[in-house]
Structures are given as structure tokens and as C-alpha cells.
Symmetry: C2
Subunit: 347 residues, 2 copies
């Protein structure tokens, strides 16, 4: 994984442009080319394994800075990267779902004396901890059922991924990434744009994010225990899309890091935290769905189905908790005035 | 129901003692006798129906101010009142459980356009609301099952209550309440104690409450979404007992209202709010248990059992929400320094 912000990486084609702290000189195209070249080189170095973060970072940069890039070429490459990311991501997604559901179920059925491992809140007092489903007759069968179904899904996704990595389509993509290391296809006038031209692109990306957040019921999400995730969950999809927007804005800030200097650090860190919260949201929502699907398996016992109902609700509670964290922390970032015109010129 | 604080009631045997705003004169026994006489008169007036609040208020006063009362007599009467309250409370408890479970299930399965009714949080935006179990095939059967089982339980409790109200034991209790209107059995020296002697009794009651609260994991409860109600619920019992202690302290403050004047209003209101939160805790815990019991019914379908699992988890979430509210609001009351020696003497 290459999660370090770009500002801390040595610029491969450095010409003084990326010296942070200095007013940015140089050209936007050079800075963008250096960023994409570094990511593409990383992609090629890792082959035959593929880092999904790299795919996402390249795709995000192609999207955010598309005004500088050859439109047909960048659109094509973005679609290929998105398709590959989705396809290769399935195996890992099944793994995450499986791990999350088994951990949840084990915690629901635990009879430890040390207490179950939970992420939120202070450490509970040392005492006999016991999940609500401890010794429930349906728990072992529900566990076996979830394990069987999700392991099967993961195996299938693994096979599909292997086929993809051996395909002509994948090799064509690798060739395009090779080209990206040395030669970035630009729009006609883009090669003379100053480095500062990157900033409006990042601002536009941030505006899309802000607009998407404003369409969500954050005020309600900030109230704990509304029970909405069971009683009125609405659509999960806008929240899932939000994660993509948060990451794109985070990556845009990293590309602009040299232009923004230290001021980029706080919003970048905040966005990274929010992306993690939204990943938890996605994982919990998918796990809840997997539990609901498992409950539709023919010929399961009522006890198994009951346990799956509790597991389903437990994961939806995690969805609600993630929305609560996002809804409570977003206003802080928003109030900081990040990536507004005033924030940009104040340097 | 007689929920108005005593301070606003005309003292039946008034001798100027209960004029709030004035330094308290008169005797503790007279004030207590007046309070108990008013409650007992209310009890007799309502017959043959019984107000459970009255039973609880009389029992609480007998407990809090037992140092003034004939110990054998007050202990006996308290036990009779507690037994009757428990017995007559069953019918209403089944009714509350039934109403709560059906409302929860209806909300989980709703497909309204106006959104489900929820108590917490701002009003959701007007849009298509849909519970997580909307159109679930198990929902109608689960609803019918819960309705059947809890209606049966309520009917049985009703029969038991009717038998009790016709029993010699109940008539003996009514006779004792009649005596209470005119003649309060005191300890030998208690009849000369000044009205201020009521205060240490109320302080002692409050200390018991504070001690019980301090034994609970409030710091953790104040963190939302720990998931403890499913994963590590601990014992509900201390929280149920807490409600009794909160009410006893609230009633003690009301008896002492004339001595304390306006300063009693804020803690009394806070205690009343906390008692309501703990009643919600109790109702949700009992409803969750009823859903779990219903899931043990032989020959139910897996779909029905699944729905009951979700309903169970939903009610446990309500338990967690109630503990969260209690844990978040108690510190405010505690910080106010109410019923400490300093608070008592500052008048």
C-alpha cells in the first residue's frame, strides 16, 4: 500500500516544483505527470499482484485533473481501472464480510471472562462478559452457514480474479500503465498551465464532496440511537458513493500538497479518517446483507434463522454507528473552511 | 394518578407547617402523617380500582422515613404493598410489552410515505420511509405470534388481579390503609422530632441512590454505539432496581418539599426524567425477552424466527439507548451537588 501523502515522496522528475514551503513554480502537467508516473511505476513493480489503492489513486487523479488530460484517453483508462478494481475487490470484500460476521457472532456468543473485544468506548471492567446469544442453540449452525457461504463466494471471486489477471485485457491495461510512467497524454493547451492550475481542480472535487454530504441527513445522523438503521434506513448507496468522493478529494489534496504546504495536512488527515468510517459503513452494510441472504437458505432451523436476524440487526447497528461518527465529525472539517477560496489564498 | 408534588397540595391537617418559603416549623411526624393520609385517602377513593403509583408512594415513604415509624408495622405494610404492586402490575406490564413490540415491528415493516414515528432526533425529511423488514414474509406471522402470546399473558394476569382484589388479604390491606388516614403508628420518641428531621432521611435515601449509580459503568454507557446490549449486556437487574431507588428519592424530595422550597424543584424534575428513562429501559428489556421467548415456540418458520431475532435486537438497542441517556444525564444532576449537606444548609 502506498498511503503516504505525495508531499513526503521524492518527486521522480523533480525540478524544484515540489519543494513544499516555497511558492509553487513549474507546470501543472509536470507535477501531475510525476504523480501518475510514481503510481504507475508502483503498479508495475508489484505485478503480478495488484494494489487496489494504486488503481484507485490513478483513477482519482485522472478524474480530478481531467481538464489537463486528453479526454478520450483518460476516460477509457479510468473505466478500465474502475472495472478492474471492482472485479479484483470482490475477493477481499468477501473476506472482510466473513471476518466481520464471524467476529460479530463470536462476540454475540462469547462467554469470556476478559470481555469481548469491541472498538468503541473505554475498556469494560474485568468481569464475566457474556454475549446475548451465548449458548444459543442456533449459533454454531449460523456460524457454519455464514462461513460456508462466504468462503464459497470468496473462492469464486478468487477464480475470477485469477482469470482476469491472465487475460489479454489485463495485459493491455498493464501496457497503458507502462506508457503512463513516461508519457502523459495532455490536452492541447494544458502543457503550459502553471502548477497553480491544479488547485481549482482539487477545489472542484471538494465541492462535489460537499454537495453530496449536504444532501444527506447529517443533523439526524448526529443524534445517537435514532434506530433509523432498522426502522428507516433509507438508501445506503449515497453513503457508499460518499466514500469514493472522500478518497478522491483526499488524493487531490495529496497531489496539491506541494502547493498547499502544511495547511493540507489537517484536512487530508480528516478525510482519511472519514474514509475509514465510510469503509466501516460499507463493510457493515454488506455484512448485514450477507446475513439476510443466509437466512433465506432453504431448510435452516428456526434457531439458526433467529441468530441470523440478531446478527443482521447487529451489523445494521454498526451502519448506524458509522453514520453517527461521520455526521458528528464532518461539521468540524466543514467549519475549518478548507479548500474554500479564502483557505486557498491564505498562504 | 397523583403525580403533582406534595408542595402544591393543600395539607389536610395543615398547621402552617407546609407553607413553603417559610422556615419549617412543626413536627416531622405531622408532616409525614399528612402525606400518608393524603395518599391513603386517594387509595380508598379510587377503590375498587388501584393506582399503582399510590401503592409505590406509600411504600416509598414508609421506607424512607422508617426511623420515625413503628418498625414492625411499617415493614409489614411495605411488604404487602410491594406484593400487591407486583401482582397488579403484571397485567399492565404485558400490555406495555405488547404495545412496544407491535409498534417496533410495525415500524420495522412500515412502507409509509410519512416516515415511521420515532421518539429520538429531529423529524426526518418527508420521503418514502421503509423499515428493514418491509415486505418480509415472516413479519405477519411474527406479529400474530407476539400478539397471541402476550394477549394470553395479559388475560391471565387480569384474572389473577381480579382474584386478588376480591381476596380477604386485599380487604385487610384496605383496612390498614383506612387506619393510615387517621392514625400513623410512630416509634416512641418520634412524635416530638422537629420537621427538619425528615431531611436526613431523604439524604440517606439519596445516598443509597448515588451509591447504586456509582456501581454502574456510566463512563462506558455515555459512549454511544458500544454495542454492549448485544455483545456484553451484563446484568439488567441493577438498572431495574435503580428505577425504584430514583422514584424513592424523588418521592422523598416531594415529602420534604415544604422544607426545601424552590430548590427541590430542579432535582425532583431531573429524577422524574431519569425514572422515565429507566422505565423505558425496563420495558425494552422485558420486550426483548418476550421476543426471545416467542422464538422458542415449537414449529415456527425460519422466516418468523428471523423477524423475532431482529425485533429482539431492536429492543436491546432501545435498552442501550436508555442506558446511554441515563449515563449522559446523570453527571449533570450529580454535579449540581443536590441533597449534599452543603445543598441542604444553603437556604
Amino acid at each position: 500500500m502506498t498511503d503516504a501523502p505525495l508531499a513526503t515522496q521524492a518527486p521522480p522528475g523533480g525540478d524544484g516544483l515540489l519543494d513544499s514551503g516555497q511558492p509553487a513554480a513549474g507546470l501543472a502537467a509536470d507535477a501531475l505527470a510525476a504523480h501518475l508516473a510514481a503510481e504507475a511505476a508502483g503498479f508495475l513493480r508489484e505485478l503480478p499482484s495488484v494494489d487496489l489503492h494504486t488503481l484507485r489513486r490513478v483513477g482519482a487523479a485522472l478524474h480530478t485533473f481531467e481538464q489537463l488530460l486528453d479526454p478520450g484517453w483518460s476516460q477509457d483508462l479510468r473505466e478500465e481501472l474502475a472495472r478492474l478494481g471492482l472485479l479484483l475487490g470482490q475477493e477481499r470484500a468477501y473476506g472482510r464480510r466473513l471476518a466481520r460476521l464471524l467476529a460479530g457472532l463470536d462476540s454475540l456468543t462469547c462467554t469470556d471472562t476478559t470481555g469481548p473485544e469491541r472498538t468503541a468506548g473505554p475498556v469494560p471492567q474485568q468481569r464475566e462478559a457474556e454475549g446475548l446469544l451465548a449458548r444459543h442453540p442456533g449459533a454454531p449452525k449460523a456460524r457454519a452457514l455464514l462461513e460456508r457461504q462466504l468462503t464459497l463466494g470468496r473462492s469464486r471471486a478468487h477464480t475470477t480474479a485469477l482469470q482476469e489477471l491472465g487475460s489479454a485485457r489485463f495485459h493491455a491495461l498493464a501496457d497503458r500503465m507502462t506508457l503512463l510512467v513516461s508519457d502523459l497524454p495532455l490536452r492541447p493547451a494544458a502543457d503550459r498551465a502553471p502548477a497553480n492550475a491544479l488547485l481549482p481542480c482539487a477545489v472542484a472535487e471538494a465541492s462535489v464532496l460537499v454537495g453530496a454530504v449536504e444532501a444527506l441527513p447529517l443533523e439526524r445522523g448526529a443524534v445517537p440511537y435514532t434506530g433509523d438503521m432498522l426502522h428507516d434506513p433509507g438508501d445506503d448507496q449515497p453513503w457508499h458513493q460518499l466514500r469514493g468522493l472522500v478518497l478522491r478529494t483526499q488524493y487531490a489534496l495529496e497531489v496539491c500538497g506541494p502547493l498547499l504546504g502544511a495547511r493540507a495536512a489537517r484536512p487530508a488527515a480528516a478525510l482519511s479518517d472519514l474514509a475509514r468510517v465510510l469503509a466501516r459503513h460499507r463493510d457493515a452494510a454488506e455484512a448485514a446483507e450477507a446475513a439476510a441472504l443466509a437466512a433465506l437458505t432453504p431448510r435452516i432451523t428456526p434457531a439458526t434463522a433467529y441468530v441470523l436476524g440478531v446478527v443482521h440487526a447487529d451489523q445494521r447497528l454498526e451502519v448506524e454507528a458509522a453514520r453517527h461518527v461521520f455526521s458528528s465529525t464532518w461539521p468540524d472539517l466543514d467549519r475549518s473552511g478548507w479548500l474554500t477560496d479564502a483557505w486557498l489564498t491564505n498562504r
